[in-house]
């Protein structure tokens, strides 16, 4: 019974933090563009409004897909150690997290393709190509850390960075942090790598047919994905804080970096993005890997 409560609590917390980050993110972008921007709780309002609206669906696959995508990401979140403790006592394996995240994207892709709108399918094909793009450097970074710590459990990696800031992985392996940062940018679908959302070209890509509560679910999925991805980076590179507050603060720092990059960069074409991801971050990660292996 306790486990169910913890799971529920963690999910709400993740959604809350995610939406909060999105709101603040939009505020920060507005500030960069010298304007006020919406109130920080705007994301909550949007989600509330979307869930109250009627919506259209094409077939049962859309409903199944959207539910599966949010479910998948929530399941991923439950495996990421947040400030030291995990929803359910189990091993927080990096490989499991990486594969579980795929459920989210696959569910969303399936729902969206079921709508039959070509814009959506083009968006999904770009998203999956992008996924292949950022997955490789991100895994190389993780591989480096796994080999250094001799374990693939996220908890142990974050515990290995306890103590002062000096033995954070961010400091010990700056190269892999940079590579992870770029890969994170692509993972979240932020500006330089958001060829899949691309409102001008393919009418917000996958979300073209999503209305009402489906769009709401998509918002929540994006929020939870922000929370999960930043949590992973924090655990990997910034030693995972002891209490929730510092953990969320660190997450926000990471998210701020991505928002800053997003505010100023134009959009890559999809093959430029994949070429970039396979040369720059991958190069850095491989360099770091070689350094680790030689040590």
């Amino acid at each position: 019974m306790m486990a169910v409560l913890r799971v529920f609590l963690f999910s709400l917390f993740a959604i809350f933090i995610g939406l909060l980050f999105m709101g603040i993110g939009r505020k920060v972008i507005a500030r960069i563009q010298l304007r006020y921007g919406p109130p920080f709780y705007q994301a909550f309002l949007d989600v509330g409004k979307l869930f109250s609206r009627k919506s259209i669906t094409h077939n049962f696959v859309m409903d199944l897909g959207m539910v599966m995508s949010l479910g998948g990401l929530l399941a991923t979140m439950l495996f990421v150690p947040i400030a030291g403790h995990v929803a359910v006592k189990t091993s927080t394996n990096l490989i499991v997290i990486m594969y579980l995240m795929a459920i989210g994207y696959l569910g969303m892709a399936m729902a969206v393709a079921a709508s039959g709108n070509p814009n959506a399918t083009i968006g999904v094909s770009r998203a999956l190509t992008m996924m292949l793009g950022y997955e490789v450097p991100f895994f190389t970074v993780m591989l480096g850390l796994i080999i250094v710590n001799g374990t693939s459990s996220l908890e142990l990696i974050s515990q290995s960075q306890a103590g002062s800031i000096l033995n954070w992985n961010m400091i010990r392996f700056p190269l892999s942090f940079i590579a992870a940062e770029i890969a994170l940018q692509a993972m979240m679908g932020e500006k330089p790598f958001d060829a899949m959302i691309a409102p001008a070209e393919i009418a917000s890509g996958p979300m073209v047919e999503l209305s009402g509560k489906y769009l709401g679910l998509a918002f929540l999925t994006h929020a939870v994905s922000i929370f999960v991805e930043t949590a992973i980076i924090v655990n990997l590179f910034m030693g995972g804080a002891s209490n929730i507050f510092t953990f969320v603060l660190k997450q926000f720092e990471i998210y701020l970096i991505t928002v800053f990059i997003e505010a100023v960069f134009p959009r890559f074409k999809i093959e430029q993005a994949v070429k970039f991801l396979w040369t720059v971050p991958m190069g850095i990660a491989v360099l770091q890997l070689i350094l680790i292996l030689l040590k």
Partner: protein, 624 residues
Amino acid sequence: MIELLLVPLITTLSIAFFIKYKRVTWTLFLASNGFILYKLYSIYGMWSLSYSFNTGYEILGAKFNLGVSNNPIGWYFAFFSALITLIISIFSIGFNKNSKSNVSVIWMLIIFSNLGIFFAKDWVTFFMMWELMGWTSFFAITNGKDKALDGAKYYLSLSLFGAALLLIAISLLGAYTGTFEILPSAFGLLQIINSSTKLGIVILLLFLTTFIIKSAIFPFYMWPQKVYAEGPEDYITFMSSVMIKYGIYPMAIFIVPVVGSVNLPRILNTGNVLQYVIGYLGAISAVLGTLLAIFQTDMKKLFAYSSVSNMGYILLGFSSMTIVGFEGSLFHVVNHMILKAAIFLTLAAVVFRTGESEMHKLGGLVYRMPLTFMTFLLGIIAAAGIPPLNGFGSKWMIIQALMSKKMVVFAIAMIFASTGAFMYLFRALASIFLGQLPDRYKEVKEVPLTMAVPMFIMMVIMLLVGVVPGVVMKPLTTALKAVGYNVDIASWTVLEGSLKNATIDLKIVFYMFVAGVIISGLMYFFGNKSETVPQEDNYTAGEYPEEWGVDADRFNYSYSFYQPFKEMFDPLLESISIDDLFASVGRNFEYLSTTIQGLFKRGEGAVLLFSIGVLLLILGGLII
């Protein structure tokens, strides 16, 4: 033990007798598969069971007798392939209702050879069953259709070439170690490699090439796509899930133990040279299989390349030479068998109903065939290796093994291939089932009951093995322990990795997934109600596509699905094309053949050649 081999033979003869009555033949086929599965189940654990038939043929000084023995790993492979074959045979009763030529006779013979291969005691019996399976699958693929001939010819020449190499390898090994038994010959090969390395390596490579040809690994990865597109769909399901494992089985019992324990120069002290050879073959076929699968337009060819990349994973698992890697690969053998059978059953159902196998001509079948869609969806999720389903466990163990041995390049290749898998698997899902339903398929019905039941069973198995891997891991670990590896029996749901506290409990992973889905389901019901809308009502910037003559086919985005991605890889794929190499070899032979025919057609040079022959003899006799 003997009735295990006799029953398929008797059924083959009886099916051949009743070839005219389709229903009788296929029920006989199902009955015999059922019996085989029951028999295999009953001999689990009796590892000393064996039977040998004295052929009275003298070789190497002793009377040779065909031997069949119940070895643990052989049992493991045979049991699960018998399970899958039983399910497929239920499927093929309905599938073959109106097909003209009946493939069950040849198929039964292949099942006989399948059991023979897995239980062969010595190399000659293994070779005999191997060769029998070679030519019978040729007839099964063509199955009376002429368009299937050149694909089948390509496959036949490759498998005969492989068998020739195997014969040379067996004879060399027999000549030098004096025995044909599989186990002692492995130790014999070890001594040969340790003593005269060059000869030992040649023998090992000969063995390896044959098994690589049969399991469609890197240099010989071209034949599945030629063969799977042509053959009868239900047989191809069997071929793509079970027959592609024939190469893996001998690797598991012979190549891996030898390569693991031979002392050859080691690289970066992680593995010796041969391990890296196997590893790179696996890595290249994994990456190449995924890339080529992404660019295919025919659904069966797409999944042919997916089998190639899955075989690559298995080889990667072998190359790590750790217990976890070895277990992971053998677990992946069964996983791949299950998910590939599920996927190909759905493809067969789609072809059975629509008769079309080009993906851009299909679309929107989810409206008409929901059960097939669900099986395909679960198959896709399993093939992509996503946790709740069975594909994940084995991939996870293989990656763990690779990481624990610091084989960095192979780990990255593995991840590249399995992420790439999402791309082509989703492409297949989207093009076949999702998107707009063209008018010609408007009245396509769901598959009949006899085909729906096996699909449902496959779904249950995938979920079961995904959540409770013990179902496969327990027999696997007991088999490995019986063979002699120091491995502890796997528990029902926990999988051990080789890194520090790398154990995952798939049960909890499943619960978490269910919890997540429940929470998002609540969110979903929390929202306002939604009304379904016909498929034409899409946002197209206010336009009415039908007015401009854009029907469902052209409206579906599925022709060149990953066009930008393809342009990146086109220069690379054009430059290395193994297929042209084999095609040019074929052309040279045919050119030579026409010149020889010309020589013999004229025939008046007979006396001239006669005297040249005499000169040659004189040259040989008197001078050299």
